[in-house]
Symmetry: C2
DNA sequence: TTGTAGGCGTTATCAG
DNA sequence: CTGATAACGCCTACAA
C-alpha cells in the first residue's frame, strides 16, 4: 500500500480511502490511485485489516464429523450459504469423530479468530470449551453440549424413532431389527430410546438379539444386516436403520443376498436419502430438514456474534415419516 | 500477551517464546508463564502472527459449485484431509456455477491471504486471475484454465464417455439417449464428444433428437427422461447419463413411470453413486477416484506454495466402467 | 479533501 | 537465557 501511495503521489491514508470506497476523495485523485493499484497489482490485506478494528477474520468455523457424509455436507452447505449472506466465509474441518482432533480443531479455529464456531461434538465433555466459549461464541449442532452453556440445534431423534417403530408395528411387525451405531453416540441413544418407548407403548417386547448398535459404517451395517437375516429361525420381519450410513449398508446387504431374492423385510431408515424412493422395494424414511438445521444454527451463532446475551437456546428440528408412494 | 507478560513478570518476547515452544527458556520461567496464560485464558492470535512473518493465513481456499453435490463434497473432503496434514485449514465457498460469484469469492479469498486456491471454475475466461495467480497459487479442478497458466487436475471425461457408449453399443443398442447438462460446461462437452466418437467408431449414427443436454438438475433430467421414454415410436433402448445429477433424475423418472414397469432401458451413468449397485435394474457407472482428484490437486497446490516454479502440469485422472454384478 | 501519528498482537533482530 | 525495540499492513482519530 505504501508503494501504491508513492506511485500515485499521495499519502497512505488516501489509498486506504480509495480501496475502501470512502467518500471525500477527489475523483481525479481516486483515478490516479486506482491506476497505480492496477499497475502494481495491489490487493487489500484483509487479515491486517481485521487486526486493528474488529479483531476478527470475518469467518465462521464449522467442525463436523465427515464432509463425505451427505448429512453433514448438506448442513455445511446451509451454513455456508447463511454465512456468506452475512459476509462471513466458512472454514470447515472434519473431526472424524475423534475427541482429540475435535479439541485440536477448536483450538486452531479459535487461534485463527473465527468469529464463531459451529460444532458437531464428538466428545461428551465440553468443559474444555468454557474458556474458548467466553471469547468465541459456540453453537452445538446435532448433539447437545455437556458442561458448558451454549446454544444447540438438535433433531427430534426420539420422536422420529417413535414414528419409525410405530409404522412398523402398525404394519403388524413385532420382530423388528435395529441396525446402526456407534451405540454411545447421543443421536443413537436417543433413537434407540424412542424405539424402545414405542415398543413399550405397544406392549411389544424388544428382542435384544435383534439390536445391532455397533454398526457405525455401511460395511458394518451390511454385515450386521446379513447376519440378522441369514438365520432360518427367529429372523426379524422388519428393520429400522438408525442413520443413513446404516441404511446404505443394509440396503446393500439385502439386495445382494441369496438370489432369487426372498421377500424383503419392511424397512424404515432414519435420515432421508436421494434414492430412497426408487429402491427395489419400498423403504420409509424418517426425514428432517438438514438445511434448516444449518440455517438455524448459523442464525443463532450470528445473533451471538452480534452480541446477544440471551439465555442459551436449545432448538429442536422436527422429524417426519415419509412413506413410499406404493 | 502483554498482560500475560506482566502477570508472569517477564517480557513480552519470553511469553512469545513459551507460546511457540521455542528452546532457550528456563523451565521455571516457562512454568510461571504457562500459569499466567492459564489463569488469564490467553490464546495466541494467529492472524496477528501471520501479519509479521509469513504474511499468510495458513489456509487454503476451495471454490466449488455446490457442497451438496456428492461429487464436490467428496473432493472437498480429500482436499481438507490433505490440507490438514500440512497444517492448513480449508475455507470452502460455493460458486453455485455463477461467474460473478466465482470472481467475488476469488477476490475475497485472496484478500484473506489464503496461501493457495483450488478452483472448480464456472467461468470460461480466467484472464482475470492472472493478477491474483501471480500472488496466490491457483490449481484448477475438474475444468481447465483458459487464459492463465495454472496446474489442473481433470477427469478423463471423453475416455469415460467412450467406455459408456461402447458398453451400450456392445449390448446391441443403437438408439442411445443422452441426458445431462448444462450443455456448455466443459465436462459435458467432453463427455458428449467422447460419446460421439465412440458412436462414429462403431458406424452408428447419432439421433440428435435423443440428446437432452439442457438437463443440469435431477428434476430437469427426470423430465427429459420421462419425455424421451414416453413416446410409442422411436423410443431409445438405452440411456447415458452425463453426471450424477442426471442419473438421479433419470432413475426417478424411470422408476416412477407407468406401472407395472415396462422393461427398463440399459443405462450407464457418469459418476459413481453409493446405491448404484442396488437399484431395481442394473446400472453401469463410469467411476473415478474423486478422493484422488482432491489429493492430487492439493498436492500440486502445496508444491506451488512451497515455491515450485515448474511448468504448469495438467493431470488427468482415469475413469473406468463398473458394470453391475448381475 | 488530504495527511500525520499511533496502535492492533505478534515475531525478528540484536543487545544484554 | 532474557529483554527492548522495530517492524508487519492497515485503520481510527485527529489535524491541516
Amino acid at each position: 500500500m505504501p508503494d501504491v501511495a508513492e506511485a500515485a503521489g499521495v499519502s497512505l491514508k488516501t489509498v486506504s480511502r480509495v480501496v475502501n470506497g470512502e467518500a471525500n476523495v477527489a475523483p481525479e485523485t481516486s483515478a490516479r490511485v486506482l491506476e497505480a493499484i492496477g499497475r502494481l497489482g495491489f490487493t487489500r490485506n484483509d487479515i491486517a485489516r481485521g487486526l486493528r478494528s474488529r479483531q476478527t477474520s470475518s469467518s465462521l468455523g464449522l467442525i463436523i464429523e465427515d464432509l463425505g457424509n451427505p448429512f453433514y455436507s448438506s448442513i455445511a452447505r446451509a451454513v455456508e450459504a447463511a454465512a456468506e449472506e452475512s459476509g462471513f466465509m466458512l472454514v470447515v474441518a472434519s473431526s472424524e469423530g475423534d475427541d482429540d482432533r475435535e479439541r485440536r480443531l477448536v483450538a486452531a479455529l479459535v487461534e485463527r479468530r473465527v468469529d464463531g464456531l459451529l460444532l458437531v461434538p464428538s466428545s461428551e465433555d465440553h468443559r474444555y470449551l468454557a474458556a474458548e466459549a467466553a471469547r468465541t461464541p459456540v453453537v452445538f449442532l446435532d448433539r447437545p453440549p455437556h458442561g458448558v452453556r451454549s446454544d444447540a440445534v438438535l433433531l427430534d431423534n426420539a420422536g422420529g424413532a417413535r414414528l419409525a417403530a410405530q409404522r412398523l408395528l402398525g404394519q403388524g411387525h413385532a420382530r423388528i431389527a435395529v441396525v446402526g451405531g456407534p451405540a454411545g453416540l447421543y443421536t443413537m441413544r436417543e433413537r434407540v430410546s424412542g424405539f424402545r418407548a414405542a415398543m413399550a407403548d405397544a406392549g411389544t417386547p424388544v428382542d435384544e438379539s435383534l439390536l445391532r448398535l455397533d454398526a457405525g459404517t455401511p460395511d458394518a451395517a451390511a454385515a450386521a444386516t446379513a447376519e440378522l437375516f441369514a438365520s432360518r429361525r427367529g429372523t426379524p420381519t422388519a428393520l429400522f436403520c438408525l442413520n443413513n450410513r446404516a441404511a446404505v449398508g443394509a440396503v446393500r446387504a439385502l439386495a445382494y443376498r441369496a438370489r432369487p431374492p426372498r421377500r424383503p423385510p419392511a424397512m424404515v431408515a432414519f435420515d432421508d436419502f436421494e434414492l430412497a424412493g426408487v429402491l427395489p422395494w419400498p423403504i420409509a424414511v424418517v426425514a428432517h430438514d438438514t438445511a434448516a438445521m444449518g440455517r438455524l444454527a448459523a442464525g443463532l451463532l450470528l445473533e451471538r456474534i452480534g452480541g446477544s446475551r440471551a439465555r442459551p437456546k436449545q432448538v429442536t428440528v422436527p422429524t417426519r415419516l415419509v412413506a413410499p408412494a406404493g
